[in-house]
């Protein structure tokens, strides 16, 4: 073996290649084999690598061991628990992050809120009440924007005025000149109030009612975006109750599942 005249050159040698050669890696290509042989023949440090790696491997295999802390043989009770522990482990894994004292009240609240939403969400489907459309009219007033202000019509004000008497948004819009100039008569209010949502949709969507059509046409001509806004209003009004229903059902279901898991976790003896 030739001593390496420039030891710093060893740093540039492919030591991994040397290790692979020394380990008899059968993935080495003939050119790599040749290169590895040349490195070992020409560099003392590369040649010493094999000896050093062997020393390390021997020392590793003789490394000190700690005493085994216990006997791992299983008792009959442990064996029975392990055999029947599939469901238990599943529950333990699922509830691992639970703090049962916190989670159970939260789950109870979720069930209560969920059920409430289910009830509220199903009210209009049962025939409608005066209070049920309030969220829709609030959303209407919130999304109505400039188009409503720019084109106040009988049909628009006729719907808005009775449907949202306490709403701040609507109060603001009612103060528009157009709204004040065409106040609703008590007779109009009577005809409008039984189905406010229906009126809202008719007035907003496309003006299917005879009165609304010309207004909406004019509104569209003056404000091309208003028809789209009206469509959005209609979507919002149409989706709100099924969404509440679904949201309530999901919330209640999740709450019930969590309560069930908490109960199981307690049953199997998990401590808080």
């Amino acid at each position: 073996m030739t001593a390496n005249p420039h030891p710093s050159e060893h740093a540039r040698h492919d030591r991994l290649l040397v290790v692979r050669f020394l380990e008899a890696d059968d993935d080495l290509r003939p050119a790599e084999l040749e290169q590895a042989r040349a490195l070992i023949a020409g560099c003392a440090a590369c040649a010493a690598l094999g000896t050093e790696l062997r020393l390390i491997a021997d020392a590793t295999s003789q490394m000190a061991l700690p005493r085994r802390p216990r006997d791992f043989r299983m008792s009959h009770q442990q064996a029975a628990a392990v055999r029947n522990g599939g469901f238990r482990r599943f529950v333990e894994r699922i509830t691992a992050g639970f703090r049962l004292d916190v989670v159970r009240p939260l789950a109870g609240a979720a069930v209560a809120i969920g059920l409430l939403l289910v009830v509220v969400g199903s009210l209009p489907r049962l025939g409608g009440t005066a209070s049920a459309p309030a969220p829709a009219s609030q959303r209407f007033s919130a999304t109505a924007g400039p188009s409503v202000k720019a084109a106040p019509t009988e049909s628009t004000t006729g719907v808005m005025t009775p449907a949202s008497p306490g709403s701040g948004d609507v109060t603001g819009q009612s103060s528009q000149p157009g709204a004040q100039s065409s106040p609703m008569t008590p007779q109009e209010m009577l005809t409008a109030s039984p189905e406010p949502t229906a009126d809202l949709r008719i007035g907003a969507v496309a003006g299917n009612g005879e009165k609304a059509s010309p207004d909406v046409a004019r509104d569209s001509a003056e404000n091309p975006g208003s028809v789209q806004v009206g469509q959005a209003r209609a979507d919002a009004a149409g989706d709100s109750f099924p969404s509440l229903l679904v949201l309530g059902a999901v919330l209640a279901s999740v709450g019930l599942i969590v309560i069930g898991l908490s109960w199981l976790a307690r049953r199997i003896g998990r401590t808080i």
Binding site: R15, A41, T60
Partner: protein, 207 residues
């Protein structure tokens, strides 16, 4: 001149067909409900599993937990044992348990290897050896153990399985769920990393 491949790996445990036959018989008996048969397997392999786990995770308690979990899991899934070697199957389960521990430790890095200096780590030295020799062995173990903590978990696992337990590349690939090339790379790079870490202590290893 050292221009031919040399054997770096020390002699590992023998994988004897006789052992496989014995283990399979014990597995069958355990599947028939004989807990004693399973406990016989525990007796046979608990030291081996503990040695692997403690070297991989570097913590006696965590290693004990990994071994316990491995035996529980093996008992639960005994019917799924299909291979030739119960020892390899059991080792794979233990490696999974040890890997879980290492993963959890990464999430909560605290005191990675708290017990290397513990006196409970005993060199497997012959009692007839001189006190000087025992001291050297102990010191050697300490520096090796310290260097092992510095290489990556994957490299350490591969080296323990290859050098100490005597598994071949393919068995380690099967156990750890990586390719053959990855196993080789981990072992080669791990060796080089150990060599660099241990270069100041090479004289101690030569003694």
């Amino acid at each position: 001149m050292e221009d031919q491949p040399v054997r770096i790996r020390p002699a590992g445990p023998i994988h004897n067909e006789e052992y496989h036959v014995r283990d399979r018989a014990l597995v069958r008996a355990a599947l028939d409900g004989e807990l004693d048969a399973f406990n016989r397997l525990v007796e046979l392999y608990q030291d081996t599993l503990y040695a692997i786990c403690v070297r991989v995770v570097g913590d006696r308690d965590a290693a004990g937990d990994a071994v316990q979990e491995a035996f529980f899991s093996a008992y639960r899934n005994l019917a799924r044992f299909r291979g030739d070697s119960f020892r390899s199957w059991l080792t794979r389960i233990a490696m999974n348990a040890a890997t879980d521990i290492l993963r959890n430790r990464k999430r909560r890095p605290a005191d990675p290897f708290p017990e290397w200096e513990d006196e409970a780590w005993q060199p497997p030295a012959d009692e007839s050896e001189s006190p000087e020799r025992t001291a050297i062995m102990r010191q050697r173990s300490r520096v090796i153990a310290a260097a092992m903590t510095e290489i990556t978990d994957d490299q350490r696992t591969a080296i323990v399985l290859y050098d100490i337990e005597g598994y071949d590349y393919q068995e380690i690939a099967d156990m750890t769920g990586v390719s053959l090339g990855t196993v080789k790379s981990r072992i080669h790079r791990g060796r080089l990393a150990l060599r660099d870490l241990l270069s100041p202590d090479m004289e101690l290893l030569r003694e």
